[in-house]
Amino acid sequence: MSSSTDPLRQTPLHALHLELGARMVPFAGYDMPVQYPSGVMAEHHHTRTGAGLFDVSHMGQLRLLGPDAAAALESLMPVDVIDLPVGKQRYGLLLNDAGGILDDLMFVNRDYQHNGDVFVIVNGACKVADLAHIEARIGSRCEVIACPELALLALQGPQAVTVMQRLAPGIEKLLFMSGGRFSVMSQAQGTHQQIDIFATRSGYTGEDGFELSVHEKKADALARLLLAQPEVKPIGLGARNSLRLEAGLCLYGNDLDTTTTPVEAGLTWAIQKVRRSGGARAGGFPGADIVLAQLAGGDSAPKRKRVGLKALERIPVREHTLLQDTAGHPVGEVSSGLLGPTINEPVAMAYVLTGCAGPGTRLNALVRGKLVPMEVVAMPFVPTRYHRG
């Protein structure tokens, strides 16, 4: 499948995936499980009803250290990094000088010692370029430390909190988009070992859940301990994609790339007031003139916008499918699309001309020479169930 000559990398859970009967595929340079024997559909439904365990160790984890770390990271994103309270997590966007999105990421203020400590999780396929970008732009202002020794597991679903509370009492007090250090006791093969984790209450499924950063040497023990809980089943990348699309969450490379700005992508909620025109720290990020002008609207408003679409016939409409208005004029293209297993309808994200972006707008998708009627709808497609307290 992969034409690359580079050997695929393996996560610390690779042997476990094989043992569980996973079907492995190349993803972001890693040999990753796309599904386990129960299949994408069952895995998707399990995550919406129980607790699903995902190996997302291909993602990049890095730390920015030093008194200027938060301000330095803030200079790369249209996001309020400086005022994020200790222990809180936020969504961020690395931009290029044209306001295009280099990557989307999550960061946590871990400045417990008041020396400056920001923990960042970036996309696996972007992590090498992100690190180079961050070092080039702010490497003189803070220490930039890649953490390839860390694995990342996600436990997602309505029963995730039940499981985590059993293993790490107190973790249930975390609210959505916050994090902290916890210890889990593992008793595999009669030996006790303490597994230290950094957990955040967040994820990529629209469900309540946790992301668990753990040393690679403890990742296998932690995953086996989680899988030994009756609520937990392993979930592959296939269901991860259908879950995130139903939740209205963007996939970098499909729904976001260097040619899309945060305004086009409908991610203006990620740009806090303090970074907008008139704010105390307005601008000062790459592409600020373009992004702030797009936000102001008028002649500078973007020509296209990301929207959610539902097909009105039971026909999946996939990425790169062209879209027309009802008069037959081209208006855009699907960026992600599939039959959503929970909503049980074909759903998609697309970029369309702003005149066609209003909810209720009827469009046609050109699928194998036939027109499939679609309607612009608000996202998420499936209500999110984050634990906001």
């Binding site: 796309v34 599904q35 299949g39 994408v40 559909m41 069952a42 998707h44 296939g238 269901a239 994609n241 259908s242 039971r314 026909i315 999946p316 996939r318 599939l338 039959l339 297993p341 074909p346 194998r368």
Partner: protein, 123 residues
């Protein structure tokens, strides 16, 4: 009754100048949970290797090729209504369409059970 197989992982059950066509167990396993099928129009003629249908799972879409030239005489409406039949019974209730063969000699180029077993083990 002779089952033949193509390199694109379709099967044909040939009976007196007609054939029932579906996708193999190997094909449905590789696709995963099938959520959608697009079936050809009844009465339409296809040449061998033309795209005659589509089968989609949550994670992928694949074309279904006409294995041999001929005219579509019937499509499986039960499969259209319940695409998961392609997973649960790919060689039976999950059949796709029936075709009246216009060049039955094309069957000679297709694989038999043993040959397909060896072929699919290596793909």
């Amino acid at each position: 009754m002779a089952i033949k197989y193509t390199e694109d992982h379709e099967w044909l059950d040939v009976d007196a100048g007609s054939a029932t066509v579906g996708i193999t167990h190997h094909a449905q396993d590789a696709l995963g949970d099938v959520v959608f099928v697009d079936l050809p129009e009844v009465g339409k003629h296809f040449d061998a290797k033309e795209v005659a249908g589509v089968v989609e799972s949550v994670k992928a879409a694949a074309d279904v090729y006409m294995p041999v030239s001929g005219e579509v005489t019937e499509v499986n409406e039960a499969l259209r209504a319940d695409p998961s039949l392609a997973n649960s019974d790919p060689l039976g209730a999950g059949w796709f369409f029936k075709v009246k063969l216009s060049e039955p000699s094309q069957l000679d180029a297709l694989m038999d059970d043993a040959a397909y077993g060896a072929f699919s083990a290596n793909t």
